[in-house]
Amino acid sequence: MALGTTTMTNDTILKVEHLSMKFGGLMAINDLSLEARRGEITALIGPNGAGKTTVFNCITGFYKPTMGMLTLQRKDGKEYLLERLRDFEITKVAGVARTFQNIRLFSGLTVLENLLVAQHNALMKASGYTILGLLGLPAYRKAVDASIEKAKYWLDKADLTDRADDPAGDLPYGAQRRLEIARAMCTNPELLCLDEPAAGLNPRESAALNTLLHQIRDEGVSILLIEHDMSVVMEISDHVVVLEYGQKISDGSPDHVKNDPRVIAAYLGVEDDEVEEVIAEELDGGTR
């Protein structure tokens, strides 16, 4: 389990150390350590129930981890300990945005409004916490214009400009996925966490999603994603971490992970003693 075969030229944006999460007697995550590097797409994969979403919920503050340290380093060098921040502060202060496995849009608001709500904190400040905004000062109006420009930019990226004035609940499934990503991007994140963004998409929508994710990465935003669809993972990610039963079983480049016997065993469901055999064979074969 060598720590990554990719070069270490990029600095780390997120460092998870000795993360454990217990639900009653169930150990959902057991002493997990991983790193996500700045400007890269890191994928978190594993069979159902491996604890991927739990890791996400710990990173984004929806769960308080039982143990462990989650360090996020922003571009300006400031470090934040995510397990000590409240959930909304993780987005507001530390610059981590997320999407959900089951899409959570504001379905009664229009697509544009969804993107404006995401800019809440910036607009709140510009409106002098509502009081100055009620007076309609020019500084606030400028901020509103800027927020609409930003929304337009992401509408264009997500290919939703035509539907900007429709209620979000009226969009087809694939468009809702893209809107959720665009909404998360409107919070100005440095790390974007996507929980199964390709779930339920058809091949064409899936390809559009890959393009969108590459564009986001090219803007300098790091991505951490959970995905089941191996083709998506192998195609877009720079770095893959594999979980099984709350523990890391492999970590490295897509090619490295793809050929890791433990990963193959985990996905194909080989018996434990057989895994030992497979590993022994691999080692005998002199691949390492």
């Binding site: 909304f88 507001k92 608001l109 544009l112 809440h120 900007a164 004035d165 909404r183 998360a184």
Partner: protein
């Protein structure tokens, strides 16, 4: 259904007879004990019973015949009309709205502005007392309360069953501060609003971690606590006796409406003494307060905080994932709603000249909430219409003395207020489950402003 109308009448009539008989049997079973048998006390005060077969027969016949007619004739007729329309391919909804529809708000506002003078002209001074006070002011107070509650329930999606508590805080703030310290209405109006908002925050802080049903129950309890404190803290509030002789509002300190005072409004303008001028003045005060509430609500909806309220109603978890502090967002909604309740309360105190805990029972909260739900959560126009229908309707009921001719001399129509209230709610909710105005106006748009259908918006879960 359409196929059976095509095949001919005997089939439909047979079905109608069957359904009619069935309805008659159901009605007979339902009303047998309620209507067919009556208990009463005889001369010795013993409880005995007698039968009312005639009345029961009328009930059963009405049910059976109306079911027969509806299945046999009315429904086929409607179906034929629908079929004809579908064949001709004409859309039922026309895009062109009528003049009245398009300018509804302007017409309504102009009407409200001239309403007191209109009633003066038509029914004279003495007659317009009733129309300005009982109808105008009474309805507008409820419009304001419902618009205030709309911020909490309609926009932020927090179910508040104790809204009347803030109304009470406002009313007692004015009543107590004016009678103990002699402060004027115009000083105490903003102060009662601020005090009510403060109570909103004090209540909200521990309560807002609760969601949905739990929040509703706790706010209900809070409403009752405030009322019980008002009843039992007799040293300050005089308990159930209430506080009377509350000072009238002055014309911004220039003229007074007290008949005896030196700078009385009536004397200054050389008018004959009548309380109608004060009522008209109060009408414009509450109208201005309503307009303020509407203006602030409309402005706030377009501000980030207002959008955050609506987002909170739609999905709280998504809000948190976008970096929105849901606790402060909920608190501001609670405080803003409570503030308008406080304004309305202090106005209520000065208008009545008397406050007692009787005015702030749970039923008031329920009525205000019912107005918000009937009107369509979030829609100012719908809520105003609902307030007119609900409050105006109960006032109209008092006027319906002709019903005594029908139901006998001991019939008091206003006693049936709640019955009609319930009936109206059921009918509206059957035909318009999202209230009078179920759609939502978006707060921002790129190309065109299109109303969002009520089927997409959520009610919120606290």
């Amino acid at each position: 259904m359409a196929a059976s109308t095509e095949t001919g009448h005997p089939n439909v009539l047979g079905k109608a007879v069957r359904e009619g008989v069935f309805a008659g049997v159901v009605a007979f079973l339902m009303f047998l004990l309620f209507v067919g048998i009556e208990t009463y006390q005889d001369i010795n005060n013993a409880l005995v019973w007698r039968t009312r077969w005639g009345l029961l027969a009328i009930f059963v016949l009405v049910a059976a015949v109306s079911r027969f007619l509806s299945v046999g004739f009315i429904k086929p007729h409607i179906d034929r009309r629908k079929l004809a329309k579908a064949k001709s391919g004409v859309l039922e909804i026309s895009e062109q709205k009528s003049f009245f529809h398009r300018h509804f708000l302007k017409i309504a506002l102009v009407f409200l502005l001239v309403y007191p003078f209109l009633s003066l002209l038509i029914v004279g001074k003495q007659g317009s007392l009733k129309y300005v006070d009982n109808f105008g002011i009474q309805i507008l107070i409820y419009v304001m309360l419902a618009w205030g509650l709309n911020i909490v329930v309609g926009l932020a999606g927090l179910l508040d069953l104790g809204y009347v508590a803030f109304y009470a805080v406002g009313a007692y703030s004015y009543a107590l501060l004016s009678s103990y310290f002699g402060f004027s209405f115009w000083l105490l109006l903003p102060m009662s609003g601020i005090l009510a908002a403060l109570w909103g925050i004090i209540l909200g802080f521990p309560v807002l971690r609760l969601r949905g049903d739990y929040l509703a129950i706790v706010t209900l309890a809070f409403g009752e606590i405030i009322r019980l404190v008002l009843i039992n803290w007799t040293d300050v509030t005089k308990g159930t006796f209430g506080i009377s002789g509350i000072a009238k509002a002055s014309f911004f300190g220039i003229w007074s409406f007290d008949t005896g005072s030196a700078n009385s409004f009536v004397k200054a303008w050389g008018l004959s003494a009548s309380s109608v001028y004060y009522k008209i003045f109060l009408f414009y005060v509450i109208l201005a307060l309503c307009m303020l509430t509407a203006y602030v609500t409309i402005r706030l909806r377009r501000m980030p905080i207002g959008r955050a309220w609506e987002a909170l109603r739609e999905d709280e978890i998504a809000c948190r994932s976008l970096g929105i502090n849901t606790v402060t967002t909920k608190l501001t909604a609670f405080a803003t709603g409570a503030m308008f309740g406080g304004f309305a309360g202090s106005f209520f105190a000065t208008r009545q000249g008397f406050v007692s805990p009787e005015s702030f029972v749970f039923l008031e909260s329920a009525v205000i909430l019912a107005i918000v739900v009937l009107g369509g959560m979030g829609s100012l126009t719908g809520i105003a219409i609902a307030a007119v229908v609900m409050v105006g309707g109960t006032e109209v009921l008092r006027e319906m003395s002709f019903l005594k001719v029908v139901f006998g001399p001991d019939f008091t129509p206003e006693l049936y207020r709640m019955l009609l209230f319930g009936l109206a709610m059921i009918i509206v909710m059957l035909f318009k489950p999202r209230g009078f105005v179920g759609s939502r106006e978006p707060t921002a748009f790129l190309k065109e402003r299109r109303a969002v259908s009520g089927s997409f918006t959520k009610e919120g879960h606290g």
